[in-house]
């Protein structure tokens, strides 16, 4: 009987470890396609968290489900009066503490790596804020252009100072660190591209320097991540990670185009509200003037 129990336990532990490992590997696919250098370590961290999480979940659930299946009451008598077990209680206090230290240490490590890769916000002159960070890493690269990102209710626009180009699309070069200067003209917005795994709130009246390195050519979606009012959901923009040639070509072309007010979904919906079955006539903040862009 004892050997049977030990075998059973061993099988259970084996199943947990195998399943957790498989889940951890699977976890990479639950995230959108990685398109920035920062996305890779985040993927590793998530995989690690899923593996550990699955071990904890299956272990505890295993005991719970086993009890539910095999400890059903057959009569109304009481079970043995086990009030506790000091060793066991110390074990399940110490193990989580160690696990937590491990997770925090690993997360810190990943955070440092992202820092070196360049996704750290270089926030400056802000309350509760340490002074501007020294620029780290990628100093051997040629200095990259600082692109101004202007968020307002409810549009994104991107300004390239060198060519004096403004666009509703963000074009960036693959495998080069990107410097963004995030600005908001009204409320708190958030810069979020799921494929890059990066996110930064944009506090009005501050310029937040933000750096990351895209590494996969393609088209991605930028979304406002901090609730910004009525037309919040419409505040999106396309992000293009281009080859250097495509990028230069696009920038040169854009510079030749005349400046016109951009088409703005919030503005068009504000002037022509959709006829939904449930409607309010509540006052809303009118969308700000759409940015003037080199179409």
């Amino acid at each position: 009987m004892r050997t049977f129990n030990i075998t059973l336990l061993a099988i259970f532990v084996g199943v947990i470890i195998l399943t957790s490992h498989a889940m951890g590997q699977q976890a990479y696919h639950w995230l959108p396609i990685a398109a920035a250098a920062e996305a890779e370590p985040v993927g590793h961290l998530f995989s690690f968290l899923v593996t550990l999480g699955t071990i904890v979940f299956l272990s505890v659930m295993g005991v719970l489900v086993y009890s539910i299946l095999f400890y059903r009451a057959s009569d109304t008598s009481d079970a043995p009066a086990i009030r506790g077990n000091l060793k066991l209680e110390i074990t399940w206090t110490v193990i989580p503490i160690l696990l937590v230290i491990w997770i925090a240490g690993y997360s810190y490590n990943i955070y440092q790596r992202m820092n070196i890769l360049g996704s750290l916000p270089l926030v400056h002159l802000h309350l509760l804020e340490s002074p501007a960070y020294a620029e780290t890493g990628s100093s051997n690269m040629q200095p990259t252009e600082q692109i101004e990102v202007i968020a307002k209710q409810w549009s994104w626009s991107f300004h390239y100072p060198s060519q004096n180009v403004t666009s509703t699309e963000l074009h960036i070069r693959v495998n080069r660190p990107v410097h963004l200067m995030l600005k908001s003209e009204d409320v708190v917005h958030g810069f979020y591209v799921p494929n890059f795994r990066i996110k930064q709130d944009i506090v009005p009246n501050q310029t937040i320097a933000f750096k990351f390195t895209p590494n996969r050519i393609g088209q991605y979606q930028l979304h406002d991540s901090q609730f910004s009012g009525t037309y919040f959901a419409l505040m999106e923009a396309n992000v293009f990670v281009d080859s250097p040639e495509r990028y230069n070509q696009w920038l040169a072309q854009a510079a030749t185009r005349p400046s016109v007010p951009a088409i703005n979904p919030a503005k068009s919906e504000h002037s022509q509200p959709p006829k939904t079955p449930l409607r309010s006539n509540w006052h809303t903040v009118p969308p700000a003037q759409p940015p003037v862009v080199n179409k």
Partner: protein, 547 residues
Amino acid sequence: MTNISIKSASEPEQTDWKRYFSFSTDHKVIGVQYLVTAFIFFLFGGLFAMIIRAELLTPQLDVVNRSLYNGLFTMHGTIMIFLWIFPANVGLANYLVPLMIGARETAFPVLNAIAFWLIPVVGILLLFSFFLPSGTAQAGWWSYPPVSIQNPSGHLINGEFIWLLAVTISGVSSIMGGVNLVTTIVRMRAPGMTFFRMPVYVWTTLSAQLLQLFCLPALTGAAILLLFDLSLGTDFFSPFKQGDPMIYQHLFWFYSHPAVYVMALPAFGVFSEVIPAFARKPLFGYKTVAVSSLLISGISTLVWAHHMFASATPNWMRMLFMATSMLVAVPTGIKVFAWTATVWRGKLHFKTPMLFALGGVAMFLFAGITGVMLAAVPFDIHVNNTHFVVGHFHYVVFNTVSMAIYAGIYYWFPKITGRMYSEGWGKLHFWLTFIGANLNFFPMHPLGLQGMVRRIASYDPQYTGWNIVASLGAFLLGMSTLPFIANMVSSWLRGRKAPNNPWNATGLEWTTSSPPPLENFEEIPTVTLEPYSYGESHRLTTDPSSI
């Protein structure tokens, strides 16, 4: 107060219900008033949630317009927190704490009654704001400036104004309730009821109410400052003048993260009562479970900035708050392991309260794991403000806390009403709720991982699949309240008479009659034993045939 007579317990039953509509200072009446009022607001909050989920059934905007959508999710969050979970927990605590510690009443009965009657005022204010020309508040329950102080209507009385008023009144009510409960627990315990003889439910209530007293005033302070900015034109949080919107975020989360523990701790208390009773075993590691409640309270006052990992927070703050946030997992883990060990080698009876408790524990385990994930800064930066957070949060507040409130209502229903509920309807209610809740809230995790931002009324078509599942779950969850209501109403009216101790449970509340007499106990008991003396020879056994 002094001329309460013992006779009043046997007053004719016809007039009995009227006291629930009166300004009563009896903690048991107040408890029921809280629970019923909270449940009515829960239905409103749930209705709003179903409209939100109906909108999210398809990527396009096709059910409500955007300002109404924003108003609905603001009201959904506000009502569920301030008018469902808080008052439902305080209601249960009001009913149970004096009975559990062997007191005849609470410390400040009049204050307690006033605290309750402020709750309907809060609810009426919030619901009334739907009819204002400005509409309801639409800045979400966080109400971050500058969005919250934009006031496009220009009216002095606007939705945000009403919202701030409601939150402040709710805060006053919570502080009154907190002072009353903490004083009751510390000062009114029966002879022999030492701290380490108190049931864990009393411990968790004490821990939760201490948190309310210590942290809630920060929200009140923030609300006052925001009201000044909104209505009097000051610039505390105005970024374009001298102010700073980040200060609001800090004040808000200084309270509003501990608020989650204010909601969750009493749920842990309910699990700690229900699971031993239906496993017929003492709570495993009673003292560590009891003390871990206070630890949770303590640590949770130092974790607030994890809501601001993607805000303009400096590195040291992100790392510090990552560490403290993960640390909360230790005392909460202790509780989960203790419940699991209690079930192990028990003699399990799967009555409705036990189903809700075990379902709640299982889903809380999941919520705890995603919680630790969210504390990891690099991962949080990706999923912050996405549906992943919404999913995690609802696994805590619905799948754990609301399940626990249901477990508590079923468990103490015989005590409160003197009637048995219908087990069949109860089980149907459990399965509908359990399936509905998982269908509703699980899909939010993959959606968030894929990058679906929260609070959007329309979304990219790539997210459609999981959203349909979530919406169907929400509608099922809405339906699941019907058997509950039917069960409660019909059982209270004509359910089988309940014995004093239908679950053959330990705890002082089971030693008095069902429902208890006006002054709770014929004689104030003297306590000589630790709680949860299941399986021990000297434990109080009133009816071995019950359960």
